[in-house]
Symmetry: C2
Subunit: 454 residues, 2 copies
Amino acid sequence: MTDIPYKIYLEESEMPTSWYNLRADMKNKPAPLVNPGTGKPMTAEELSGVFCADLVAQELDDTTPFIDIPEEIRSFYKMYRPSPLVRAYCLEEKLQTPAKIYYKFEGNNTSGSHKLNSAIAQAYYAKKQGLKGVTTETGAGQWGTALSMACAYLGLDCKVYMVKISYEQKPFRREVMRTYGASVTPSPSMNTEVGRKILAEYPGTTGSLGCAISEAVEDAVTHEGYRYVLGSVLNQVLLHQSVIGLETKAAMDKYGISPDIIIGCAGGGSNLGGLIAPFMGEKLRGEKDYRIIAVEPASCPSFTRGVFAYDFCDTGKICPLAKMYTIGSGYIPAPNHAGGLRFHGMSPVLSQLYHDKYMEAVSVRQTDVFEAAEFFARCEGILPAPESSHAILAAINEAKKCKETGEEKTILFGLTGTGYFDMVAYEKFHDGGMTNYIPTDEELQASIAQLPKL
Amino acid sequence: MTDIPYKIYLEESEMPTSWYNLRADMKNKPAPLVNPGTGKPMTAEELSGVFCADLVAQELDDTTPFIDIPEEIRSFYKMYRPSPLVRAYCLEEKLQTPAKIYYKFEGNNTSGSHKLNSAIAQAYYAKKQGLKGVTTETGAGQWGTALSMACAYLGLDCKVYMVKISYEQKPFRREVMRTYGASVTPSPSMNTEVGRKILAEYPGTTGSLGCAISEAVEDAVTHEGYRYVLGSVLNQVLLHQSVIGLETKAAMDKYGISPDIIIGCAGGGSNLGGLIAPFMGEKLRGEKDYRIIAVEPASCPSFTRGVFAYDFCDTGKICPLAKMYTIGSGYIPAPNHAGGLRFHGMSPVLSQLYHDKYMEAVSVRQTDVFEAAEFFARCEGILPAPESSHAILAAINEAKKCKETGEEKTILFGLTGTGYFDMVAYEKFHDGGMTNYIPTDEELQASIAQLPKL
């Protein structure tokens, strides 16, 4: 027996009252969003046509280290937070590793993931501004569900464009969003000009996050009283998600634990950026060192095989340009079962940190990810989301290395969500029908060659 | 603001170390199981052909008030327990009620319900006895998932007979069980003699818990090294589920809260029996009074329209007889979307307590249940299981009465699980295609007339 419980829950009184803005501690700030028409940084005024005013302020603020969490958002957080920091005793035993494995589990809410942390914040500011509603895109459906929940709570209208392949693979996700009063449209759709254009060009496309973003933005800017909200990539989203890392750090500090390795899956980067925030802050300030690893799917390898350059965040090329690791906004990833990681780019904050070598990245194959997922489910009980299972696999790999070397490292990873709506994927895995598509160098080069010239 | 947090989590050190055996405090003990062949109480030896030895002992023990929870089970409990006791601040506000509403939420584990509490206990004793595996039935799929998880953890084989309508309505449940290594068969099936007989007699049947039980029992007794395990009804199951009530009471005591009304949904009675256990104990010992309400579906009203008599627990009439409230083991309830509540009978413990007027019962209509479920989801965030939503509806009704009378009652209800695998039902509700089937008096009389004569 040990002093560390299976699950560490903070008291309500120990929950963070501010978000931590990692950018304030970055020497090399993430590059600003750029207007593709003028080639100049987007102004607050330009951004305000698309985003809520308070969120624009958060997006552009790279100097204030702590930003108060409004009381109303903290109340909502208390409905499903603090989330547990779990000691993976059973996983450690099954692996026979001397490593100590912890995971921050964000799946104990109906959206099934960490996405709710930013959804309630974005919905709150939209409500505060007196808007009628918001539009958004969703990949795996977790962000759309999260936003639906937040909007239902606050009484806002919610329009969701859902990546077509997820819409088809996860029929029940739509019904959950409907339960919370949202409208859900498979993307690309005939609702928008950009959707119609993409459909004409690629009639059989299964969609992508980039394409759904284009549609949601167009819908917002062409309807009075609506703004667009985004579940990842943006600086504001990483800010809101810092609540994950802040809680984790508080829980670890309480028990005198310090991670040697911190691992998170990375699609747009919101979970990873949130989890690592306070740890990376210490690293940036030179107070402490941590090994930080981003895990991405081999089928959509922006960090490991992309370039660090300005690119569109969306397929339709109607959004501002962001400087980030990208495999090209025109690249439509092969269908895989981690819809939340099928994004061609990466958070500008994380991209800058990766470029400056404050973190590493690895890419993993889909079938290996599901093998790790099932192994994890059977010993830790929790059925993980395919996205989260990328981090599980990397954590298991690190724990196995510890077994070889005998090192008692402390490994922390983000278990972002549950796989209850991913059973089509698990079924394919069980039936042996799951494949691993890895883009060729030629494909990526062709896509990267299309990057906008500034 | 108030002193009571949104969620009360006990510390690991505050978790129960014994189960509480309510029967020890009952003056009128629940009637024994009876052998239908001899008309005499089932002996331990007879029961041991079907159930594990340690579980038989627990089944028959109506005098020991506390039974130690083995260390291994307590370790497993720590992976997903303590479950939170939630103060429903938002629900109270939306209802504008002076009532204080609490719910014990058992859905934060992959089985999605409280069923895991007994599954791990039963699997543990099977393993301890050196068995190869266990067989069981499942209605909504929650029990089957729970047992699969417990068996995967302990390395036992697990065969699940799933009520056909749930199998069809919840295709992904099967895949979850498969992820945990179980085999799942829709019931009635051609695997067993009793299944083949039922199929011949009622070719279009959508199945029932009673019928699936018959098949699972037959499978166990005809295969070497297997025993049957049951997720509800039995005394042993209520014993294991007492962990729900013990945690709830410990959490309430910690904050000086005492419920006036305790509400739970009732199918076979495992959740309700577990939730109320320590409170009912106080009531039986005359230490304190509580109003206790069982909520059942109008389509399967064993408490409110059944009789208190000996009946078979299963449709196939191969199980022992139990004295309980029943609408007849031959009654196959109309399809509804709370598969976990489609059982013709009721726990003998709860039946005796209801008969002795220690508790009340109400029946509610399916569409009202889903309306309450959606209302609850939108304000409390959690998407509830249809079963649990029966309790939500009754709690809302009591809270509304408090609004009328101005009474500040404290209402506690059991939120047994989540509805992530019930989206077919929610979809039907949204689309207006949900109906309310309520059996006629003639139907129930005809079924009850078939009760076995002792």
